[in-house]
Amino acid sequence: MGLAYAPSLESTPVEIAPRYEHFIGGKWVPSEDGATFPTIDPATEETLADVAVGTPADVDRAVRAARKAYEKYWKPMKPADRAKYVYRIARAITERSRELAVLETKNGGKPIKESRDFDVVQAAAHFFYYAGWADKLDWALRAGRTAAPLGVVGAIVPWNFPLLMAAWKIAPAIAAGNTIVLKPAETTPLTALALAKICEEADLPPGVVNIVTGDGLAGAALTAHPGVDKLAFTGSTEVGKIIARTIAGSNKRLTLELGGKAANIVFADAPLDQAIEGIVSGIYFNQGHVCCAGSRLLVQENVHDEVVERLRERIETLRIGNPLDKNTDIGAINSRAQLDKIRALVKSGIEEGATYVEQQCALPERGFFHRASFFTGVSQTHRIAREEIFGPVLSILTFRTADEAIEKANNTPYGLSAGVWTDKGAKSMYVAQRLRAGVVWCSTFNQFDPSSPFGGYRESGFGREGGVAGLLPYLE
C-alpha cells in the first residue's frame, strides 16, 4: 500500500476586504477616477477583491505625500527612532506570518509551504536586518564619509514574490532614511496592501510608505515622475530596458533586478542524489517563477542518462494542486497570460526538436496549472535554452569539460545566478570564478539571506539587494 496524503488545508482565516484603495500619506484613498480592477486567486480563478487602478494623478499624489513625509518627519528623525519603526514592522510581519502566508498563496498561487517557510520568513528577516543598519549608516561607507538619504524612492515589484520583493525595497529604503512609493504587480497587490496596513498599525509617520496599485500605466507614471530621486525595479528585462531609456538624462538613480536563464552545472563527480534535489529546487520552486531559477541544466555527458532518469522519477513525487494544501509542492501559475507564455515556449521547444517530459498526474479542473517538466536534447540555439520561460520547465543540455561548461553557461545575455555541483572543492572554485553571474551556488541552490547581496550581471540588471551592498543604492 502507498501512503495517502489526504488534503491538509491551511486553516488560518484571513480577512479580505471586498475593495482596496491606495495607501497614500497614511490614508486609504480611491483612485482619482474611482476605477477598480478585480484581483483573482489563480488556483480557482475567483475574484478575491476589487483594487484601485492607479492613475498618473494618484502617483503624483503619492510622490508628493512621500516628499512631505521625507521633509517633515523622516529626515529630521533620529536614526535610532527610525530603526524602532522598522523593527516594529518586522515584528508585526512575524506576528501575522500565517495570515500573510495565506494571503500570499491565495493571491499569487504559490504553495502555502513556500509562502509560510520562505516568503514571509525572509520578508521579516529583511526588515530586521535593515532595521539594525538605520543608526549605523556611516559604517556602510568608507571611513570618514557621512551617509545621507536620497529622498523619495519609487519602487516597482513583480508578482513572483510580492511581499518579499516589497520588503527588499521598503526595508533598506526607509532604514536609510528615504520615503517610498511602491507599486505592486498588477496581479498580486494584496500582501503589499497588508504590509501598508501593518505600517499604519505600527504608527509609521504618514507618507513614509505609500502603495499605489495598478498596471503598467501607474508604473510608467512613477518612472517618469520628476519628484522621484531613485527608482528600484524588479521585473522583466524588457520593461527594465524601457525604464532605463525613460529616465536617461534625468537625475534619477536606478537599480534593476531583471530576468535570468541560469546555468545549473552538474559534473559527473557530484553527489548526484543531492544534485537532483538542487535541480528540483532550482527549477520547480515557486512554479519556476523565479528570476534566478536554474532553468538551464548543464550536465556532464557521461552522467546525462542517469541524471535524466533520476529526475524523471523524482518529479513523480512532486504534488501539484491546491496551493493552500500543506502537501502541495507545485501550486498555480500566477496568471492566464503567464500560463499561455509557458505553453507557447513549450510548444516551440517541441517544434525545435527537443524531447519533452512531464510528470504524470491529473491537474485541477479550474485554475492555471502546469506540470513539472523538462526538455532533453536541447541545443544552445533553441528558444527554450535562450529565453526565460518563468515556469516549471527545465532545459537540459550536456557538456564534456569544465571549460566547455563555463563557456555554455556564460553564453547568454543574462547573468543573475548559477549553480555548480561537484564533490571537488578546487573545481567548484575554478568554475565559480569564471561564471559571469551575480550569485553562484556551490552544491546547493536558491539559498537566501538578508545579509547576502543579490543582483545581476549584464541584462540581468545592476545594483545589489541585501547586505551592505544593498544599502548603498539608497544612500548619498
Binding site: M1, G2, L3, A4, Y5, A6, P7, S8, K113, D117, D269, A270, P271, L272, D273, Q274, A275, E277, G278, S281, T317, K326, N327, D423, S443, T444
Partner: protein
C-alpha cells in the same frame, strides 16, 4: 554475491546541505484523518518492540510480548520483539502462534568488539533458541581504521551462519562521522548480504535521524537498481512520537516507493513510540485526546 571488498566499486559522494534539506521536507508532509490512521497502523505493524537493558528478565520479556501481540483493542500486532540472545527462548514461547517474530541482537552487541569466533557463536546461540531475525553490529573500529574487508567479511560470515534467517546489520551511524561514511558502510553491508541495514544500537547519544535514514535509503535504492534485489531499512532509537514515525514512512514512500512500505522492508526499533502511536490512534478514532493512563505500561 561478492566475496571480497575489492569487488565493490567506490561509493558515490554525498553532500550534507541538500541531503538535510530533502530530509527536512519529509517532516513537512501532513497526514490527516483516515490517511493518518492508516499510517499509524502501518507504523505499529513495522515496529520491532525492543527491550535491551541489563535488567531484562523473563517476566519483563513475557509482559512485553503480550503487548506486542495485542497492543490495544483493535490495534494490529507489531512486527517483532527484539531482545538479547538469552531471552530469545522466553520470547519465542510467549509469542508462539501469534505471527510476531523474535529478533535477537548478536555479535557482541552493542560494541561489536570481540573475535569473529565469539560473534558467530553468539549468533548461533540466538538461532538455536529460535530467533527469526538477527540484529548484528558491524565492527566500527575496523571500518574507521580503513579495514573495510573485515567489516565485509564479518557481515558475510554472519549471513552464512543465518542462512534464510533475516539479518539486520547495525551500522551505528552516530559513530561513523560523516554521511559519506554512512553511505560507504551501507554499501559494504548490502554487498555482504545483509537483508536490512539498521541505523543504530540505541546505546549511544546519536540515534536515527531523517538525513541518516535518507542516506541509507539512497544506498538501498541504488542497490536495487544495480542488482534488482530489494533490501530493507530499520531506523532505531530516538523515534519517540507519531509525527516523527510518519515522517519516516513518508521518506520510505517518496525515496523507495510503495513496495517498501511493509514490515518486510521497513522497521522501526522502538519502545516508547508504540504508546504514542496508540494514543494518537485513539484520538483519530474518537476525536478526543486520551491519556497514557489508558495505555498499558510495558
Amino acid at each position: 554475491m561478492l566475496t571480497s571488498i575489492r569487488e565493490i566499486g567506490p561509493s558515490p559522494p554525498l553532500d550534507a546541505v541538500m541531503l538535510e534539506a530533502r530530509a527536512a521536507g519529509f517532516a513537512k508532509r501532513s497526514l490527516k484523518k483516515a490517511a493518518k490512521l492508516a499510517a499509524i497502523d502501518l507504523a505499529i505493524r513495522c515496529i520491532d518492540l525492543t527491550t535491551l537493558e541489563g535488567r531484562d528478565s523473563p517476566g519483563r520479556v513475557r509482559s512485553l510480548c503480550a503487548k506486542a501481540v495485542a497492543p490495544a483493542p483493535g490495534a494490529p500486532s507489531v512486527a517483532a520483539v527484539c531482545v538479547y540472545p538469552n531471552l530469545v527462548a522466553t520470547a519465542k514461547e510467549a509469542l508462539a502462534g501469534s505471527g510476531v517474530k523474535v529478533a535477537s541482537v548478536a555479535t557482541a552487541f552493542p560494541s561489536g568488539l570481540s573475535t569473529l569466533d565469539v560473534k558467530l557463536r553468539d549468533t548461533q546461540a540466538a538461532l538455536d533458541a529460535g530467533a527469526d531475525e538477527i540484529d548484528m553490529v558491524i565492527d566500527r573500529g575496523a571500518f574507521l581504521a580503513g579495514d573495510e574487508q573485515t567489516v565485509f567479511a564479518e557481515v558475510a560470515a554472519v549471513k552464512r551462519v543465518c542462512g534464510d534467517v533475516h539479518v539486520k546489520a547495525i551500522l551505528e551511524t552516530g559513530e561513523l562521522g560523516s554521511y559519506d561514511a554512512i553511505r560507504r558502510a551501507s554499501d559494504i553491508a548490502l554487498e555482504a548480504g545483509a537483508d536490512t541495514i539498521k541505523t543504530s544500537t540505541g546505546k549511544i547519544g546519536t540515534n536515527a535521524t531523517l538525513p541518516t535514514a535518507l542516506a541509507m535509503a539512497e544506498a538501498i535504492r541504488a542497490f536495487e537498481r544495480r542488482t534488482g534485489e530489494r533490501r530493507g531499512l530499520k531506523v532505531a532509537g530516538g523515534v519517540r512520537n507519531t509525527k516523527l514515525a510518519i515522517a519516516y514512512l513518508v521518506l520510505i514512500d517518496e525515496v523507495l516507493g510503495d513496495a517498501w512500505l511493509s514490515p518486510d522492508y521497513f522497521r522501526i526499533g522502538a519502545s516508547a513510540l508504540l504508546d504514542d502511536l496508540l494514543l494518537q490512534r485513539e484520538k483519530e478514532a474518537t476525536g478526543r485526546y486520551g491519556s497514557f493512563d489508558y495505555v498499558s505500561k510495558d
